[in-house]
């Protein structure tokens, strides 16, 4: 599946701007972005409900421009599931097969196989309003997969489920994808969902793809402040590169009250203004001053205790605040940092993210 320079205008509003993406066979690809970022519009163009204003969409090398939705080997699982309320679960799943050239027995066999796949065989004769939300989601999935599409589009597949069911369904979706081998494109606003489900992610903002790559690439090597802030949490500081020494750069960061050492990035020569982004879990909190570079003094201002871990908010000498994540490996009485304790923060040069954008 290849998207080449696709744009979509609604009147004067540019919903999607010059998107180029390639999705491999059998991949789970996530389009991640906030509401109104154009991800659903892009999905609707793939399904054929909207025509791109510019650009082309290729599926298996075949140009999809002008092909109506009913002729595309692409199926969609709608956010609302869009199950036909007047048909039973079985009829819903069989609906897409109506237009396939197959015998009645083959059709029944396929429907049975699909219901089996989503474990709904005993609900075959129920109507959609007689089953639970999670079951409805699975009917929608079975219905979309029944025609064996080349590409399955999932619009916020888990948004309507509660948290517990969502986690369980995530893994079910992944295992179903593995078993069927169908390429999945998932639209979601939930970064955790995208990270767990997808092989690759495209982060979208204001109709543009800001970065695409594997979850690790996106999380560890974001290319812009937007992506860094959208995926996970960061604390960012303004800085200026003072020296570049091969792999490492020295960066003066007034907000941290010191000069730090960080991994060099392209396009950041000496003298370049940069943003230094630190993820809470990459910063270590100690009472003693640690060895090595990147040691910063601070005072604990706030602790959010989650049980297995805590989030500390630490006041820096400059007066700024930084979020630091600490795993509670020890019990509280064993000398864990407390409110208003003086502490030292440190991080590995490779952990700091330098951003020029």
């Amino acid at each position: 599946m290849r998207i080449e320079g696709v744009s979509k205008l609604f009147g004067a509003f540019q919903a999607v701007r010059d998107v180029n993406l390639t999705v491999g066979k059998g991949e789970i690809f996530a389009l991640l972005g906030g509401s109104g970022c154009g991800k659903t519009t892009l999905l609707r163009m793939l399904a054929g409900f909207e025509e791109p204003s510019a650009g082309r969409i290729f599926l298996d090398g075949q140009d999809m421009t002008g092909v109506p939705p009913w002729e595309r080997p692409v199926h969609m699982m709608f956010q609302s599931y869009a199950l036909f309320p007047h048909m039973s679960v079985e009829k819903n799943v069989a609906y897409g097969l109506k237009h396939e050239k197959m015998t009645k027995a083959e059709r029944e066999e396929r429907v049975r196989g699909m219901l089996d796949l989503v474990q709904l065989t005993q609900f075959a004769h129920r109507k959609p309003h007689q089953i639970s939300g999670g079951q409805r989601q699975r009917v929608a999935l079975a219905r979309a997969l029944a025609r064996q599409p080349k590409l399955l589009l999932l619009d916020e597949p888990l948004a309507a489920l509660d948290k517990k069911l969502r986690e369980q369904t995530q893994f079910e979706l992944m295992s179903i994808q593995e078993r069927t081998g169908v390429t999945f494109i998932v639209v979601t606003h939930d970064q955790e969902e995208a990270m767990t489900l997808a092989d690759r992610i495209a982060v979208m903002d204001k109709g543009e793809v800001r970065q695409s790559g594997t979850p690790t690439e996106i999380y560890e090597y974001p290319n812009s402040r937007f992506v860094a802030g959208f995926i996970g949490s960061i604390t960012s500081f303004d800085g200026r590169v003072t020296a570049v020494e091969g792999d490492l750069s020295r960066v003066d960061v007034p907000g941290l009250g010191t000069e730090i050492v960080a991994r060099s990035v392209a396009g950041a020569p000496s003298g370049q203004e940069v943003t230094v982004a630190l993820r809470p879990e990459k910063v270590t909190l100690t009472r003693e001053k640690p060895e090595g570079p990147n040691a910063i003094a601070g005072e604990i201002k706030d602790i959010a205790y989650f049980g297995k871990d805590s989030l500390y908010r630490v006041t820096l000498p400059s007066g700024g605040l930084i979020a630091v994540h600490g795993v509670n490996a020890k019990r509280a009485e064993a000398g864990r940092p407390d409110w208003y304790d003086k502490v030292w923060l440190s991080f590995d040069p490779a952990a700091a993210i330098l951003l020029t954008e």
């Binding site: 199926h75 969609m76 036909f84 897409g96 219905r143 309507a160």
Partner: protein, 311 residues
């Protein structure tokens, strides 16, 4: 003591009085203005016609409860014929209303919201002019020398072979005229419930069907039509029931030789002054109409007991 009673009254009022009063209001209305008059009509239907005023009485030479009216209704061909004419006219009008009204209702749901409101207004607008005036307007249009009739006649003469030429099309005083005016009059009663039904349907269902390989017309057949059956039934009954008892339209534009049942009842009351006969027909007609209504309310309750399917 007085204080105690007062507080008990206000207690009752605050606890359930409000809801009791609100719930019973429509029942009281129906009791006073439907059930009571209907009981009077039933009572009249078993009376005997007399030359006095009021022109009916009980007993005398006849049995106290005289069912002669009912007997005549089923024996005299005039009444049954009138009933059949009514049912056929009303049924044809209903089907035509459905064929015209369904695309209109469906079109309305696809409109932009501000256009929708304007068009809905236009559908309801004719109600604000006198019904009689509108029927008279149709009478004028269908008359032999009207521009409408001349236009149709010319068209007819153009498309038909030589010998078929007519000087004018005889539209007035026919069942055609009755059905035409009834369709015109009752069309909003078909459109509005259909619109209410179709408007609630989820448009993503249409997209889902298309996505699964169905062409737009098939989508209508598979998804829209089955879900609009309650609206079709509601609109159908709202047209059929009043149309079958229609009095004014057949009186003004209908064929006096094959009257509809409403006109027969009216004539029995006023011209023949046979109140028991008129009442008998009215009661028999009502029973014949109650059956479909009950079927409808059966469907309705079934639909209401279904929980909403929308997310």
């Amino acid at each position: 003591m007085a204080a105690g009673r007062h507080s008990r009254l206000s207690d009752w009022f605050n606890r359930r009085g409000w809801s009791d009063i609100i719930i019973s209001a429509p029942y009281i209305w129906l009791l006073l203005f439907f059930l009571l008059p209907f009981l009077i009509v039933i009572a009249m239907s078993v009376a005997t016609r007399t030359p006095s005023a009021p022109p009916f009485g009980y007993g005398g030479d006849n049995p106290a409860l005289n069912f002669a009216g009912y007997a005549r209704f089923f024996e005299d061909e005039l009444y049954l014929r009138a009933l059949v004419t009514s049912i056929i006219n009303a049924f044809v009008a209903m089907i035509l209303c459905l064929l015209i009204g369904y695309p209109m209702a469906l079109g309305l749901t696809r409109m932009q919201r501000n256009w929708r409101n304007i068009l809905l207004m236009l559908i309801i607008l004719p109600f604000w002019t006198s019904f009689l005036l509108r029927v008279y307007a149709w009478m004028g249009m269908m008359g032999k020398s009207s521009w409408f009739n001349r236009l149709l006649t010319d068209l007819w003469n153009m498309v038909t072979p030589e010998g078929w030429a007519m000087s004018s099309i005889p539209m007035m005083h026919s069942n055609f005229a009755v059905v035409l005016v009834m369709v015109y009059t009752y069309l909003p009663f078909m459109i509005l419930p259909l619109y209410a039904n179709l408007e609630r349907l989820d448009p993503t269902l249409d997209e889902a069907a298309m996505d699964l390989g169905t062409r737009p017309f098939g989508v209508f057949w598979d998804v829209t039509l089955p879900q609009s059956i309650p609206g079709i039934i509601a609109g159908g009954l709202l047209v059929f029931i009043p149309a079958s008892g229609e009095l004014v339209i057949p009186t003004l534009v209908g064929d006096a030789g094959s009257p509809m049942i409403g006109r027969v009842i009216s004539d029995e009351f006023s011209s023949s002054r046979d109140w028991p006969m008129a009442s008998s027909i009215a009661v028999a007609l009502l029973l014949l109409m109650v059956v479909p209504t009950m079927i409808y309310s059966h469907f309705q309750t079934k639909a209401e007991h279904k929980p909403e399917n929308r997310p």
